[in-house]
């Protein structure tokens, strides 16, 4: 598709993923772009090695009105091209199972302050977790960094059914 035919949100997203912060993370192996089918983009994020767990998790981001509106993301199954089964979601001891909760909104999003769906009704998060609030002047790496941090922490133990 030519740039002229793209909506502004897609143009900004494609520009951002060619810039230093996204490419730097890709170059370090922290994440990798899988696909863009606007308004969706699937990006995989590397996870710490855990027995019986994958080395990375894919997430499908819904990016309408990016970056003015925060993205929302759900774990994605690259094999089936659909939502990742809850049993395969990442889990952990304290922080991780709260953030990656398949029961929250039917598994449509992550329970994180940077997520469009989850921030609704959670205004207190803006003061409790300012470092995870989506900034319209930032880019998709804001969200990717949060995911990467969770699934590379000592709190992360592997997949739910592991």
């Amino acid at each position: 598709m030519s740039t002229a035919a793209m909506k502004p949100d897609e143009q900004v997203f494609r520009t951002d993923i060619a810039k230093g912060p996204f490419v730097s993370g890709e170059d370090r192996g922290r994440w990798r772009l899988i696909s863009i089918e606007w308004p969706y983009s699937v990006i995989s994020v590397r996870a710490a090695a855990r027995k019986g767990a994958p080395g990375e998790y894919a997430f499908r981001f819904e990016l309408t009105d990016y970056p003015r509106t925060p993205p929302t993301a759900q774990p994605w199954d690259l094999g089936t091209g659909g939502a990742l089964a809850g049993s395969k979601w990442p889990t952990g001891i304290h922080r991780v199972p709260l953030a990656f909760n398949p029961a929250w909104k039917g598994g449509q999003c992550l329970y994180l302050p940077c997520d469009r769906q989850s921030i609704e009704g959670h205004d207190a998060w803006r003061t409790q977790h300012p470092e995870m609030i989506w900034s319209t002047s930032g880019d998709i790496t804001q969200y990717l960094r949060v995911i990467h941090d969770y699934i590379n922490s000592s709190d992360y133990t592997g997949i739910r059914a592991g």
Partner: protein, 163 residues
């Protein structure tokens, strides 16, 4: 002419930039290209170029290739030779002088060791700039954050998101 991509951070550059330069150029070419992305050198206007996490200054007149800079190399441009870095943890404090090209990840490892955080505890703490809520990414170089060749962090616990 072959072009290579180089990740550049430095004084006045808000986020890492990916520059395309001719591989046949000099290190000064990188400095000039970085100026278009906000590079603003203070402190006597000195221009010091380092490789990431390196403390050896690279001669700006040297050829990019002979300086050991290749495709997707990471460099830092700054006027400070060292950045005095202070990390506060509970009632303790520790300081060290790092080159400006030092990543936040490396400083974090140093602080974990200094304050004897076990591996499990270490990933549950993060460096936060003093007097702010800003938690720079592990990729960021100290020189990007320094003011007057100094930077200060608090080592703080990560909180659960709930409620």
């Amino acid at each position: 002419m072959q072009e290579i991509e180089i990740f550049v951070q430095g004084e006045g550059i808000a986020a890492v930039v990916l520059l395309r330069v001719a591989s046949s150029g000099t290190v000064q070419t990188i400095v000039e290209a970085a100026k278009a992305h906000g590079l603003r050198l203070g402190h006597d206007g000195r221009v010091l170029v380092f490789k990431e996490d390196g403390d050896v200054e690279i001669d700006c007149n040297s050829a990019i290739e002979s300086a050991g800079i290749g495709h997707r190399s990471r460099v830092h441009v700054h006027s400070c030779k060292k950045v005095k870095t202070t990390v506060n943890f509970n009632a303790d404090s520790a300081s060290h002088e790092f080159p400006p090209s030092t990543t936040v990840a490396k400083v974090k490892r140093w602080a974990d060791d200094k304050f004897k955080l076990a591996a499990g505890d270490a990933t549950e703490h993060v460096l936060q700039l003093c007097g702010s809520k800003s938690r720079p990414d592990e990729d960021v170089h100290l020189g990007t954050l320094a003011e007057g060749c100094k930077v200060c962090f608090d080592l703080v616990p990560k909180k659960r998101v709930e409620g």
